[in-house]
C-alpha cells in the first residue's frame, strides 16, 4: 500500500501541479444480522483502492481507482491532473491552502479484543440469544439484531513530504423490537437507534453494552407503548437522554459549524448554515452552561471521528465550538481555513472511502458534561423525558428542527410518572440551546456513534462521534400539529 501511494504521488507530480496527495485504503468489514430467530445477514467484504487529489492551475482534480497496478495508478494520477485542468475553465480565484507541517507517522487505534478474531458462530450466537430474549415477549412481532465490524488501514502521502499510516478498528451492535397491534406499530431499540452503539473499539465494546441483559426490558417497553397515552402537545420542560441529545448535537451544532457549508460549497444538496462568518465570537449560541467541542483526539474518547491525522494530513485537534454559550469556532480544512483568514486547518477533512475526495466532516462534536447530578437534571415540576431517536429533520440552514423519540415519560416533581407514546419536539436551534437549564455531569456522559451521516456529491456516508449526558431544556414545543 505504501509503495502504491508513493508511486501515485510521483506520477501525479507533473509540471504545473502545485500540490498532490494520495490515500490508499484497505478495508475489511463483517456484517451479521438476525431476524426472528434466523440469520438475515452473514457477509464479509474487502476493498482496496486509491484516490489521488491534485491542485493544478489553482483547481482541484480527484481520480480514484481499484486498479493498483503501475499502469492503473499512473492512469488515475494523469486523470486527476486532467480533471484539475478542466476545472480551471471555471476558475475565479486559485485555491490557496493554509500551511501545514510534514509528518511521518504510524498510528493504530486501541483495540483490546480483535473483533475479527471471534468466530462467526459465536457472534451469531450472541445475536440469536438477544433475539430469543426479545421474542419471549408474545407482543413482539419482529425482532432484529445486528453486528458490524470494520477495520480500515490507510496510507496517506502528500507532496509536502507527509507519509502517514493509520489503522482503525470499529465495532457496532444493536437491536430493535417491533410490536404491531390494532393498526399501530411501536418500536424500541437498544442501545440506540441507527444500529445501536458504534465506537472505535474492538469486541470489548460488545461486552460493555450488556445487550442480552437489556433485551427483556426493551421488548416490554415496545409492547407497553400501545397502551400508553399519546404525549401531550404544548410547551413543556424537556429532558433528553444522552443518545437523543447526541443526534440533536449532530444536526443543530455539528452541521452548522462546517465551514465549507457556511461558504456555500454544499448549497445545492446538504444546504448552507445560519452561522455566517459575522457570527463567530459574537453569537449567543446557547445558555451559559453550554460548552461544546469538536475533538478528534483519542483523549476525547474512542469515537467514530477519532484519529491521529485527518485525510489531508493535519493532526487531530480539539476545537472549542461553544464556550459558555458563545459561538467560538468552525470546523475547517486547509482550503477553507485560508479562505476565512485562519492560520491553520483544524483537521476535519475526511473521506468515506478511497474513491471519494475528503470533505469537512464532523469528527467528535460533543456537548461537554455539565455540573449537575442526574437528580438535578430531572428536578422539574412538570416535564417530559424522551429517549432514543425515532425521526429527525432539520431545515437546510440548520435552524428549524423536529425530532421524534421512541418513548417518553411524564416527570412530576422530579419523579418519573406515566409512559407516553409518539413523543415529538421541535424548535429553532439557538432558542433551543439557550433554553438549556441543566446538563448532567461526566458520570452520565456517553460518546455515541452516529454511523450514517450523509454529505457531499457524490454522497459520502460516514460515522461521527457525539458525546452527551442527559440535559433539561425550558419551555420546548412538544407535538407536531399546526396548532400550539
Amino acid at each position: 500500500m505504501r509503495d502504491a501511494a508513493l508511486n501515485a504521488l510521483e506520477a501525479a507530480l507533473r509540471p504545473g501541479v502545485e500540490y498532490a496527495d494520495v490515500r490508499v485504503v484497505g478495508q475489511r468489514e463483517r456484517t451479521l444480522g438476525t431476524k426472528n430467530g434466523k440469520p438475515s445477514q452473514v457477509a464479509e467484504s474487502e476493498s482496496l483502492g486509491l484516490g489521488v487529489r491534485v491542485l493544478a492551475e489553482g483547481c482541484w482534480g480527484f481520480a480514484a481507482t481499484d486498479d493498483l497496478s503501475k499502469a492503473g495508478v499512473e492512469r488515475a494520477a494523469a486523470q486527476a491532473v486532467a480533471i484539475a485542468r478542466a476545472s480551471a475553465l471555471a476558475r475565479i480565484e486559485p485555491v490557496k491552502l493554509a500551511p501545514e507541517e510534514a509528518y511521518q507517522a504510524v498510528w493504530m487505534s486501541p483495540c483490546l479484543i480483535d473483533p475479527f478474531s471471534l468466530s462467526v458462530d459465536t457472534q451469531l450466537g450472541l445475536l440469536l440469544a438477544i433475539d430469543g430474549e426479545l421474542r419471549r415477549n408474545p407482543g413482539i412481532t419482529l425482532a432484529e439484531a445486528a453486528l458490524s465490524l470494520r477495520r480500515e488501514h490507510q496510507v496517506f502521502a502528500s507532496s509536502i513530504g507527509s507519509v502517514i499510516e493509520q489503522t482503525r478498528t470499529f465495532t457496532g451492535a444493536g437491536y430493535e423490537a417491533y410490536s404491531f397491534r390494532d393498526g399501530e406499530l411501536q418500536k424500541r431499540s437498544y442501545p440506540n437507534s441507527f444500529g445501536g452503539q458504534h465506537q472505535l473499539k474492538g469486541w470489548e465494546l460488545i461486552d460493555e453494552l450488556r445487550l442480552v441483559e437489556n433485551a427483556a426490558r426493551i421488548a416490554e417497553e415496545a409492547v407497553a407503548l400501545h397502551d400508553a397515552p399519546p404525549c401531550p402537545q404544548g410547551r413543556f420542560d424537556l429532558i433528553l437522554d444522552s443518545s437523543q441529545l447526541a443526534l440533536q448535537i449532530h444536526e443543530s451544532i455539528g452541521h452548522p459549524i462546517e465551514l465549507d457549508r457556511v461558504l456555500g460549497s454544499e448549497a445545492n444538496y446538504a444546504g448552507m448554515s445560519f452561522l455566517t462568518l459575522d457570527q463567530l465570537d459574537h453569537l449567543r449560541y446557547g445558555s451559559q452552561i453550554v460548552n461544546a467541542v469538536c475533538d478528534a483526539r483519542l483523549e476525547h474518547g474512542p469515537g467514530l471521528g477519532t484519529f491521529a491525522f485527518d485525510d489531508e494530513g493535519v493532526p487531530a485537534q480539539c476545537i472549542q465550538i461553544i464556550d459558555n454559550g458563545r459561538f467560538t469556532g468552525y470546523m475547517t480544512s486547509r482550503e477553507t481555513a485560508a479562505a476565512a483568514g485562519q492560520s491553520r486547518s483544524n483537521g476535519t477533512m475526511r473521506a468515506a472511502s478511497w474513491s471519494r475526495m475528503p470533505l469537512i466532516r464532523m469528527t467528535n462534536v460533543s456537548l461537554l458534561p455539565g455540573p449537575h447530578s442526574l437528580d438535578e437534571v430531572f428536578d422539574a415540576d412538570h416535564a417530559i423525558y424522551m429517549e432514543t431517536n425515532k425521526s429527525w429533520s432539520i431545515d437546510d440552514k440548520r435552524y428549524q428542527f423536529q425530532f421524534g423519540c421512541e418513548i417518553a415519560w411524564e416527570i412530576r416533581g422530579g419523579k418519573r410518572g406515566r409512559m407516553l407514546k409518539n413523543p415529538i419536539y421541535s424548535g429553532i436551534t439557538t432558542e433551543f440551546w439557550n433554553a438549556c437549564a441543566a446538563i448532567a455531569n461526566r458520570e452520565h456522559w456517553t460518546l455515541w456513534g452516529v454511523p450514517n451521516c450523509g454529505k457531499g456529491q457524490p454522497e459520502q456516508v460516514i460515522g461521527t462521534g457525539h458525546g452527551a449526558s442527559p440535559a433539561r431544556f425550558r419551555g420546548i414545543r412538544i407535538g407536531a400539529g399546526s396548532g400550539e
Binding site: K38, P39, S40, Q41, V42, A43, E44, S45, E46, S47, C59, W60, G61, F62, A64, T65, D66, A76, Q79, A82, I83, A86, S87, L89, A90, R91, I92, S119, V120, D121, L124, T141, Y178, F180, E184, L185, G264, S265, E266, A267, N268, Y269, G271, S355, R356, K390, S391, S393, I394, D395, D396, K397, Y399, Q400, Q402, G404, S426, Q457, P458, A480
Partner: protein, 455 residues
C-alpha cells in the same frame, strides 16, 4: 470510437468459473456471483466556480454460496484470481458457521429466471463524456445564473454502470447503463431556486435551460413573506411529489407485510387513496432506468401497485414468494436480505391538468418546488415530516403572488393521495429524498404545514 467496456461478459464468466472451482475444492457446488462496476465522474460547482471535480472507477465481485441450507456472502474489489478464490472460501467459512434457514431458496434455475426484456440504456457519448465537456456545460449554466445577478451551485455528473448476476446453475444476466445528472441551485440575496434532471443520455439534459428555470424561481421568491402554519391547498411540483410519495414504496413488499411493518397490513384490496391515483412498477417504461432483472437474476415483471386508489399488488422476491407458494415478481434484493424486495421503477399515472392550469385554477394555496429532509413520524399512517426549500410560493386568484418562508410539514402520505384533485401529465423527475420516478405534479387539499422557519 467505441468506449471500452467497464466489465466484459467474458470477464464475468471467468469470475464465476474461478468461484466455482474454488468452491468445489471445499466440496461446495452452489455458487452465485454478483458483479458490479461503475465509472462515475462528477463536476461540482458553487459560488459560480468549479470547486470539486472527481472521477472514480470501482468494481465489486460478490460471491454467495449455499451450504446445507445456510448461505453467506463475501465481496472483493479485485478481479484477480486469488481475490475471487479467497472471497469464495471466505463465503463458505461464513456459511458453515451460520445457522440453517429452512426457508432458504436453492439457487435460481434458468427455467425460473424468465427472460428479461432487452433494454438499451447505454449511450456511448455519455460514457465517453470528458471533464472538459462537463466543465463547458457548467460554465454555460453559471453564465445563465450570473446574468440574473445570482450565484449558482450544483453538479453535473456522467457515468456508466454495469451489473451482472451469474450462478452455477446456469443463470446469466447482464446490464450496462449510462447516466447523466444535472442539478443547480440559484441563489439570490434572500431567496433561491432549484432545478434538476436525469437521463441515461447527457444529450437529453440542457443545463442552461435548467439554470434559467432555477434563476427564475429564485427571482420570483425574493423577499419571502411569512404565512402562518395550517392546512392549505398545496401544489407539488413533480420532484416534490416523488420525494414525498417515494417514502411509501418500500412497504409494497411481501416481506414487509409478513413482518407486520408495512402500512399495507390489513389494507390490501381496500380503497385507500383517491380514485384518481394509479401507480405501477414498470422497468420497461421509456422514461425508466435500471436493469430488467433483480438481485438473483429473475426478470422483473410489471406490477399494478395501486389501481384507482386501491392497493392491489406488492413486490415478491424469491424468498417471500417461496414462503407463500407463488412466483417471484423479480423485485428481490440480493439475498440474504432483511427487507426482501421493493418496487424500484415507479410510474404514477398522470392526468390532464398542466402545472400552469393547476396554478391558474387555484384560489388560495402554496406551490412547493422542492422538499428536504423527509423522515417518517408514523409508520402505519405514513405521516412524514420535512421542509420546503429553494422556491416556495403563495398562490392566490390563479397566480403566483410572492415567495414565502420555508415551512415544515407533518403530513400523512395516505391522506395526501386521498386529497388529490388535479394531476399533470407524468414526467421523469429527479429529487434528493427518493429515487427517480415517472410522476405528475399534483394539487391536494388540506396539506398540513406545522411550522415556519426564519427564511
Amino acid at each position: 470510437m467505441r468506449h471500452a467496456a467497464l466489465v466484459s461478459e467474458p470477464q464475468c464468466r471467468e469470475a464465476l468459473d474461478i468461484a466455482i472451482r474454488a468452491a468445489r475444492e471445499s466440496g461446495v457446488a452452489h455458487v452465485e456471483v454478483l458483479i458490479g462496476g461503475e465509472r462515475e465522474a462528477l463536476t461540482r460547482f458553487a459560488n459560480n466556480t468549479i470547486h470539486q471535480n472527481v472521477e472514480a472507477v470501482e468494481h465489486n465481485i460478490s460471491v454467495r454460496v449455499i451450504v446445507d441450507q445456510r448461505t453467506a456472502r463475501a465481496t472483493t474489489t479485485s478481479f484477480a484470481e486469488d481475490s475471487i478464490a479467497r472471497a469464495t472460501t471466505q463465503a463458505i467459512a461464513l456459511a458453515r458457521a451460520s445457522a440453517p434457514d429452512p426457508d432458504l431458496c436453492p439457487l435460481l434455475e434458468p427455467s425460473e429466471a424468465g427472460t428479461p426484456p432487452a433494454l438499451n440504456r447505454f449511450d456511448e457519448a455519455t460514457a465517453a463524456a470528458t471533464p472538459h465537456y462537463r466543465a463547458e456545460a457548467v460554465l454555460r449554466a453559471i453564465h445563465a445564473v450570473k446574468s440574473a445577478g445570482q450565484t449558482g451551485a450544483g453538479i453535473y455528473s456522467t457515468g456508466e454502470f454495469f451489473e451482472a448476476v451469474l450462478n452455477s446453475a446456469g443463470v446469466e444476466a447482464f446490464h450496462r447503463q449510462t447516466s447523466a445528472v444535472f442539478s443547480i441551485t440559484a441563489i439570490a440575496e434572500d431567496s433561491s431556486g432549484w432545478a434538476k434532471a436525469s437521463s441515461v443520455a447527457a444529450s437529453a439534459i440542457d443545463p442552461e435551460t435548467l439554470a434559467r428555470q432555477a434563476a427564475e424561481k429564485a427571482r420570483r421568491s425574493r423577499q419571502p413573506r411569512e404565512i402562518p402554519p395550517g392546512r392549505y391547498t398545496v401544489i407539488l411540483a413533480p420532484a416534490a411529489v416523488l420525494d414525498l410519495a417515494g417514502q411509501i414504496f418500500a412497504d409494497f413488499s411481501a416481506t414487509a407485510i409478513a413482518d407486520d411493518r408495512s402500512f399495507l397490513n390489513d389494507r390490501l384490496g381496500q380503497p385507500l387513496f383517491g380514485e384518481n391515483i394509479s401507480i405501477g412498477d414498470d422497468v420497461t417504461h421509456p422514461l425508466q432506468a435500471g436493469p430488467a432483472f433483480d438481485g438473483e437474476g429473475v426478470a422483473r415483471s410489471r406490477l399494478s401497485l395501486v389501481e384507482r386508489g386501491v392497493p392491489k399488488q406488492v413486490a415478491y422476491g424469491r424468498t417471500a414468494a417461496h414462503r407463500e407458494r407463488r412466483a417471484s415478481t423479480g423485485h428481490g434484493f440480493p439475498p440474504p436480505s432483511e427487507t426482501g424486495e421493493m418496487p424500484a421503477n415507479i410510474v404514477i399515472a398522470g392526468g390532464g391538468t398542466s402545472l400552469e392550469d393547476m396554478i391558474a385554477s387555484t384560489r388560495r394555496g402554496i406551490f412547493v418546488t422542492r422538499l428536504w429532509y423527509i423522515r417518517e413520524v408514523d409508520p402505519y399512517e405514513k405521516i412524514m415530516t420535512g421542509m420546503t426549500r429553494d422556491g416556495t410560493f403563495w398562490v392566490e386568484n390563479g397566480e403566483i403572488q410572492y415567495g414565502i418562508r420555508n415551512l415544515r410539514f407533518n403530513q400523512s402520505v395516505i391522506e395526501l393521495l386521498r386529497n388529490v384533485d388535479a394531476l399533470s401529465p407524468a414526467i421523469r423527475a429527479s429529487g434528493e429524498e427518493s429515487f427517480d420516478m415517472v410522476v405528475p405534479a399534483m394539487r391536494a387539499n388540506q396539506f398540513e404545514f406545522s411550522e415556519v422557519t426564519r427564511y
